[in-house]
Amino acid sequence: MIEFCHVSRSYGRKVAVADLDLVVPSGELFAFLGPNGAGKTTSIKVLVGLLRPSSGRVRVCGFDVESETRQANSVVGYIPDEPYLYDKLTGREFLQFIAGMYGLPTHVADERIAREIARFELADFVDDLCESYSHGMKQRVALAAALLHDPDVLVLDEPTVGLDPRTVRMMKDLLRERAAMGTTVFMSTHSLSVAEEIADRVGIVDRGRLRCVGTIDELRRRSRSLGKMSLEQLFLEITASPDEAAAAAPVSASPDEDAA
């Protein structure tokens, strides 16, 4: 379970995340949707302990991310948009290091590494140095590494960017599968179609504020009630600049109410 309790985070005077209050329960796949610079990555960095909130608290499976960072990180599997692998390690050595980092006993680590190699079909390149991998290969090894310790929470920042269609399909299936098994999946994305297809709930964030949150059906209903034909139109409406919003005045209801 993930709990953002009135989290705000500023960069100097610029507010990147404003009063984010959100709970993502176990077994839910939550898609964090928003335009560039909306505050998605900042929220994720706060969630994985890289950034500390200016105010508010974040808890992961009951662990406070700020004061119990290690415990919180031990139950999280995190895949950033540009995953880091050691150039001078092979994929297998990297997986062994990660297994060691999460304290898995050797025999368990070996079995799980074999399992992930098979799942992501890494066998052909897993013993090559990571410096020779393409972006897609790196992403798959990073995903395998994030799943090694069977995390209770999976956090993904733009997981489908730069991947080929087959890998994207595999990623979507995997995330749904994890959610079905009880893992909390928190994913940021630009892509409405990905969110529509796999997310249990979607949160639309813009200029640091969570403008709208609900299931896809709830958002569709809301979209129709606002006279919009599609989710895309709703998204564009919510994330329009103030000038654009003023131009489209008849439909500018206050969506903040939904965020609560």
């Binding site: 302990g49 990660i98 368990v108 995390p151 080929d164 299936d173 599968e177 098994m181």
Partner: protein, 607 residues
Amino acid sequence: MNDASVNPSRASREPLDRSFPARARVLAAPEETALFWRLRRRLMTNSFRESIARSRLRVALATALTLVLWVGLFVLFLLGFEFLDDAIPEPVTHDETVRAMYSIFFASLTVMLVISNAIIVYSNLYRSDEATFLLTTPARAERVFLHKFQQGMLFSSWGFLLLGSPMLVAYGIVVEAPWFYYGVLLPYLAAFAYIPGSLGAILCMLVVRCIPTNRVHVLTVAGVLAALVGGWLMWSLASRQTSELLTPGWFLEMLARLRASESRMLPSWWLSSGLLEAARSGWRDPSARTAMVESVLFLAVTTSNALVLHQLAVWTAGVTYRSGYSALLGAHVARRRLKMSWMDRAASTVMRPLSARLRLLIVKDLRLFRRDPVQWSQFLIFFGLLGLYFLNTRRLSYDVNYASWVNMISFLNLAVVGLLLSTFTTRFIFPMISLEGRRFWILGRLPVKRDTILWSKFLFAAAGSLVPCALLVLLSDLMLGVSPLVVWVHLLACALLCSGLSGIAVGLGAKLPNLREDSPARIAAGFGGTLNLVLSALYIVSLVVMTTVPCHFYLLATQGGNEALLLNASRQWNWLMLGLLGGCLLGIAATAVPMVVGFRAFRELET
């Protein structure tokens, strides 16, 4: 394997196996230490194996160059210590002199190591992808710090070992030190290097934690203050001498003024004293045994201080690293709207004879240089310090009666300007092509010949370095009051140096690019950068010898001293002309050959 080869059906067919009893857990400190040591060992083994398998020639050349440098320094120090042994045969005075020299040398190194480690720790802890990745794992902040800090220590201390070890081994040979001396050398150097290293790390973490947003301003002010203090120190050393220059009295006076570096509280003094005691140690007589014990005691003092500072650094990391990282990551970077400055306009006007494309490319590089404080601040500091030193050389022209000394110092000043320039061309010009790496498609797709891109880099480097270097050389010559002939020879040599060093850096940069690396410091520290530095040094020495030695002898022949009786002026004039011609040819070759090699390589470069 193709990226598209993942089997989604298999992924969905095989449900996740959660039957394993093992759950993730946070590691205890010793387990974590063992894990990170395994990681480090594995990384080193893989890097070594790959280097041996793929770039044997590079490894062999780098090893050979390092050995040549080490042996060269060793011979230099050996001759120096032998000279000192002959000049000061009395043991107590000899020991005091060596102790003072060691103290000054190691005190200077302490300051340099504190600064360099602070910079390296900053880059390793706060600006590295690896640190960001490790902070998202359950690793302790202290362990992440230690991992990156020790990595940085190895990186920053190899130069210290390369400089310090030949000197200390040479001293041991000259004074016939026992095996004990050589045995404690490495522990002493390691313990000593750890002290300024830890201090630099603590300083860096505190600055980042306490003033994340104003750190650049604070450090700039601190840097300027340090430069002023350094300048004042140099001024006070050079301006208030009472003894005649380069006499024993002057030497003792200088040592007395630098007595501050011999404070008993400084690690440099513990190191100097401990090593001198070790050199005198032995089993035979009681005084030698006492020396051995004292050496061990000094080693214990140095090591225990290193360990305390190590603990303090680890504790500081535990308290400040994560919060400092967050503060730094969250520091607001103001967006700046920048327009064409008067500098760009002036440069465009000066470059009007050049083609518009060439001009645009040069102005682009000029903008990048202007907007990167790391580049111009280092440029200003080093050239500023050199300028300060040249201003001080004025005293030499009053004190030294021999014109030959003044001339020789002016030649050495020219060589120093060249060496300083070569470090800048290696650090900033050589990596320019490599840094275009990921952006290369922009330049590659422009309707500009690739040769034009290289020409733009060359002209930027050569023209940009000529003005400050020529001004420095002119300043040195004016302060020393040398003859107009020497000034003209120096200006010609300076122009050749700028052109040749720029040609070497740009040509080699295009021939040996490192398109994977984003950090110019790492590019410069690689094989290509090292080769660039070595070739530049060889070029500087050759050019300075070819142009200035005949000039020196010609001046001796014409100035009417005792030497004039032995030297034939017209013959020396011919030698001078020949030297200048040779220097010009060498300068043209140093510019043209690397550029031609670079053009060829750059035309075929695929990204």
